[in-house]
């Protein structure tokens, strides 16, 4: 087959399928998160004092932090999906450490030093470490499959970004179950729980996202 002949097939195939990347990525996250929501509803359930918790600054700060991480990971994921990456996505990550530092600073200023350790260890650490990776599995799989259409400059990095995005989505769900709202707890255990997801994403992405 000559190149000119191949071109005829490519032109005939052109119709229709120019879907924006952002839409397929967000659709994959949503579909995966729905599966996780079902697990959440069946096995975990929201915390009983949800309404009261919503009024506390710690719970709100937790939500803001997780949402910022979700935004940052989405932008990073879309950036990593392309063969050429501009540095713009880094700006989206910036709010995360800023919010984290502000929440942490406030917490340390409000609480006497003696109670820090109890807040840091919390009461849910083990649940947190299992629930977040569990909730992240379905979104991660959906994301990686959606990303096969893309052309990442580095498949491993793109996979890691998928892992981060899946972990952030999982954290958002889990946040409604967890009683430990202290920024000390959230920053420590949520991040630790995200690590295996990111690593898994990178490992699978390295194989699956090659093109």
């Amino acid at each position: 087959m000559k190149t000119e002949q191949l071109v005829a097939s490519l032109v005939a195939d052109r119709a229709g399928s120019a879907r924006p990347l952002g839409r397929s990525v967000s659709r994959a996250v949503l579909a995966g998160a729905l599966v996780s929501l079902v697990i959440f509803a069946l096995e975990f359930g929201p915390r009983v004092d949800l309404a009261a918790a919503l009024a506390t600054w710690r719970f709100d700060a937790k939500l803001v932090l997780v949402l910022a991480a979700l935004m940052a990971a989405s932008v990073a994921c879309l950036a990593m999906a392309r063969p050429v990456t501009t540095a713009r996505w880094r700006w989206a990550v910036l709010p995360v450490p800023l919010i984290a530092a502000a929440a942490l600073g406030t917490e340390l200023a409000v609480l006497p030093a003696g109670t820090w350790e109890a807040r840091l260890v919390g009461s849910n650490a083990l649940v947190c470490l299992t629930a977040i990776p569990l909730f992240a599995l379905a979104p991660l799989m959906a994301l990686l499959l959606a990303m096969r259409r893309t052309a990442p400059a580095s498949p491993a990095l793109a996979g890691a970004a998928c892992g981060a995005l899946a972990a952030a989505a999982a954290a958002l769900i889990y946040a409604f179950h967890c009683f430990d709202d202290s920024p000390l707890f959230v920053l420590t255990w949520y991040s630790l729980a995200a690590i295996p997801v990111v690593l898994l994403g990178a490992a699978v992405g390295h194989r699956l996202l090659r093109w």
């Binding site: 002949q5 191949l6 093109w211």
Partner: protein, 172 residues
């Protein structure tokens, strides 16, 4: 590319042919730098065109097209060189006389690409042949094979993806 996204077939055809000509230069320079014979050149061009076509959604409209194209071309060239391994490395001096006479751009690859086509399932192969080699429209092929135009397009898309996979896996 922008026009092509809006549905301008003719613009897309012109773009692909322009890119193919540019790729031919990139690929033969790359092969020469790696000390390879130029025979694979057209294969690289076709594989890269396929990748560019299948991955066209990853081009960000707010960015210039060229860096994106160059990144795909580089990726495919490196991929190709790595796949072939460096075992059959030829010293460029031994072939300086044959290098001096460039073959007609496309001759070397026609056979190889036909083998690629042969690896496709029967129906996919007939559609690609109908459109590419016999120059029919998707509609005509559909009439001949008793399929709707939509079904033809779906199968064609699958065939192109399979072709891209075949390029990636077949050569070790």
């Amino acid at each position: 590319m922008r026009a092509a996204r809006k549905g301008d077939d003719e613009a897309y055809r012109r773009l692909l042919l322009l890119v193919a000509a540019w790729l031919r230069g990139v690929a033969s320079r790359g092969l020469a730098a790696a000390g390879r014979p130029n025979a694979d050149c057209e294969d690289i061009v076709q594989e890269t065109l396929l990748a560019m076509h299948l991955k066209r959604d990853t081009w960000d409209e707010t960015q210039p097209l060229q860096p994106w194209l160059r990144a795909i071309a580089r990726h495919k060239l490196v991929d190709h060189l790595r796949r072939r391994g460096f075992a059959d490395h030829v010293d460029i001096d031994d072939h300086s006389d044959t290098l001096a006479a460039p073959a007609a751009a496309e001759e070397g690859s026609a056979l190889d690409a036909r083998q690629m086509l042969a690896s496709l399932p029967e129906r996919q192969r007939r559609i690609v042949e109908g459109i590419s080699i016999e120059g029919q429209s998707a509609k005509d092929v559909g009439v001949r094979m008793g399929m709707s135009e939509g079904a033809i397009r779906v199968t064609l898309h699958r065939a192109l993806r399979a072709l891209a996979d075949a390029y990636r896996k077949d050569r070790t």
